[in-house]
């Protein structure tokens, strides 16, 4: 029994009609990208600014005023309260009224002028470390640069009493630390992972659950025609999602497109196939549609958490990184971010392409092996 294009077309056509009729799934395919774009693109920010801050200025001097002005200007801090005692600060932090509290001690300016390096106390509510990290770093720099400006005239020599080393930090590719630059391109991979796996998983288990598979197999149709015929429509759906994200990235979030978009589109094909292969393999194992959805999440969660989408990849322990390396999303994220933000070409992407290709081969092997067995 050989592969036949006419029968393949029959399956593709049928899938498209069913897709059109199934409003909920259709909505999901377009809705999930939109919701994720809005949530991840607009709502999630790993470099938060305008954090509520309290100041307790025990030393009312030009230096402390400059310092407060500097904090305000950094855009990380919104000075919402001025305290009159250290106890007040403690309360506000505990009550979650402020994220930061800056205490300028009584003898701040006196010690500063004498070159005694006074303490400047920055207290942070560090229950969410991600929220305070960048802001804390900002203060370290502020304290020296802002104050130096006031050390003029007779005080000028004191400028050199600033730390003998100057901490220089450059942030490459995304100097302003704009989360969206990282999140929005990554979203493309996350979305494809979720929808591609779930939809293919559902498409085949539905056929079995409703009993239509039995009918299909009693016709001359080849199992390969069924699988490929079901995959083709979803590859197109995948590209609709990719287009949506790229348009949003460009026009809503101003993500820079440094590399070649056609290259990205071509390489995305490999990633889409990888996810479809997972979906098909799952559908050969799952007994019904519910199980297919459960398995999708079983695969989706580690992808989300270990790929470097949610948390910095290099921040994970070794075993988690090893696990992450096995997931196609990890590599695809590097490809997307590499192309869009760093302007990478095919050569730079290659180290991340072969792992995805290997994944496809292994998954398809498993899927087809399982598929043969379930036919009997």
């Amino acid at each position: 029994m050989s592969f036949n294009l006419q029968r393949l077309f029959a399956i593709v056509l049928k899938e498209f009609i069913q897709m059109r009729r199934d409003r909920l799934t259709f909505g999901m395919m377009v809705g999930i990208p939109m919701i994720q774009l809005v949530l991840f693109g607009y709502a999630i920010n790993s470099n938060p600014k305008h954090l509520p801050t309290a100041v307790y200025a025990a030393d009312n001097s030009p230096f402390s005023r400059t310092l407060i002005w500097g904090l305000r200007n950094s855009s990380y801090f919104d000075i919402v309260r001025e305290a009159h005692s250290p106890a007040e600060i403690e309360n506000w932090l505990a009550e979650n009224k402020v994220q930061f509290a800056v205490t300028i001690p009584v003898d701040f300016s006196r010690k500063l002028v004498r070159g005694e390096k006074p303490d400047l106390l920055l207290e942070a509510d560090a229950t969410d470390p991600a929220a305070v990290g960048s802001a804390q770093a900002a203060v370290a720099q502020l304290a020296t640069t802002v104050i130096n400006r006031d050390l003029t005239g007779p005080l000028a020599p004191l400028q050199s009493s600033a730390p003998p080393f100057n901490l220089v930090s450059h942030q490459h590719y995304n100097p302003e630390n704009i989360s969206q630059y990282n999140i929005v391109p990554g979203l493309m991979g996350v979305m494809l992972t979720m929808t591609m796996i779930m939809i293919t998983g559902l498409a085949i288990t539905r056929e079995r659950e409703r009993g239509t598979m039995e009918n299909l197999l009693s016709t001359p149709v080849h199992p390969g025609e069924v699988i490929v015929g079901k995959i083709i429509p979803y590859i197109m759906v995948g590209y609709v999602q990719v287009t949506l994200v790229l348009l949003a990235a460009k026009f809503l979030f101003d993500v820079p497109f440094i590399g070649s978009v056609p290259l990205l589109v071509v390489l995305t094909f490999l990633f889409i196939v990888a996810n479809l292969a997972v979906g098909i393999t799952f559908s050969t194992i799952a007994k019904n549609q519910l199980q297919a959805v459960q398995m999708t999440f079983f695969f989706f969660l580690p992808s989300l958490l270990l790929s470097g989408y949610m948390f910095p990849f290099r921040g994970m322990p070794g075993w988690a990184q090893d696990l992450g390396e096995c997931l196609p999303l990890t590599h695809f994220l590097r490809v997307v971010r590499g192309i869009l933000l760093k302007g990478n070409g095919l050569t730079e992407c290659a180290p991340d392409l072969w792992p995805i290709a290997l994944f496809v081969v292994v998954m398809l092997f498993l899927g087809i092996k399982r598929y043969r067995q379930t036919l009997d």
Partner: protein, 306 residues
């Protein structure tokens, strides 16, 4: 030598250690309506699935439409129509889309004509745009039959085609089957209904994977070797309780105002019920019904099994 539409021997299928179909032979002539009966789980569906290549038999040989049923299943699929027990067309496709889909899969040369013809025969031309899922049970069954026929098969395998269909629709369905058989189509139909069994040219009875009887209705009844008495009179329920457990009495079944008492051993049955014949009841020996024979066959098969 006579050519058969189905001619298979020694067909066996095991699921794990359980033998679902055990060494079954079947010969069906072209143009014949062959009934396939047996209790639930007796292996009827498995047998049909093996014939149309959905399952691989563990043993057996023979031909289906002149093709080796084990090695040429892809060729057989093109010439066989298989109607599954459960409605297995797409409920989210319209009647026309379903027919068109099947016609495409069989690569019909004049597809649109075939679909149109099928719609006309179904009497569904006006409802062609209706979703299959919104059809009633009887209409779904007609659609399924039409879809099975669209590629003009020579053999139809129908798995309980009339389950859950009302009597009128069932009668119409059987009229259609007989008309098609007269045109030369061969049918292998599984059913639980005795009236349908008696509308088949020949039948086979299978229980626990074993073929217990086959032939025409009269032959099967005769082979069952059952003697049946009909009793009428007052207080039949009391009588039934009294004779049910007597040796030689195998079945006591109430039929309206009469009681059917049957057993395989005529002499033993006579001895057992003899004492009750003197009373107010009227006893007449009648011909055993198909159902009585089948139930008796099933009970004896169970005896052999345990």
């Amino acid at each position: 030598m006579e050519t058969f539409a189905i001619d298979v021997r020694g067909v066996t299928k095991k699921f794990g250690t359980r033998t679902v179909v055990n060494d079954i032979a079947m010969q069906v002539r072209p143009g014949e309506i062959y009934g396939f009966l047996g209790p639930n789980g007796s292996g009827k569906t498995t047998f049909l699935r093996m014939l149309c290549g959905l399952l691989k038999p563990d043993a057996g040989s023979g031909n289906c439409l002149g093709l080796d049923f084990r090695r040429e299943s892809s060729e057989i699929k093109k010439r066989v129509g298989y109607m599954t027990q459960k409605f297995s067309f797409y409920e989210d496709l319209t009647i026309e889309e379903n027919l068109d889909f099947i016609a495409r899969l069989y690569q019909m040369p004049s597809r649109q004509d075939a679909v149109q013809k099928s719609l006309e025969r179904l009497g569904m031309v006006e409802r062609r745009k209706q979703l299959a899922g919104t059809l009633s049970g009887g209409w779904k069954q007609r659609l399924a039959l039409a879809a099975c026929l669209i590629h003009e098969p020579q053999l139809l395998l129908l798995d309980e085609p009339t389950a859950g269909v009302d009597p009128k629709a069932r009668r119409d369905f059987w009229e259609e089957i007989h008309k098609l058989a007269a045109e030369g189509l061969t049918f292998l139909i599984t059913t639980h209904y005795m009236d349908e069994a008696s509308r088949c040219h020949r039948l086979a009875y299978i229980a626990y994977g074993n073929l217990l009887a086959h032939g025409t209705v009269a032959e099967v009844v005769k082979a069952g070797g059952l003697t049946t008495w009909e009793v009428s009179g007052e207080n039949l329920a009391v009588l039934a309780d009294k004779i049910r457990s007597l040796p030689g009495v195998e079945q006591v079944v109430a039929f309206g105002t009469a009681l059917h008492v049957s057993g395989r051993d005529a002499a033993k049955l006579q001895t057992a019920v003899g004492p009750f014949m003197a009373g107010a009841y009227r006893w007449t020996q009648i011909e055993s019904g198909l159902e009585d024979v089948f139930i008796s066959l099933m009970d004896s098969a169970k005896d052999n099994f345990s």
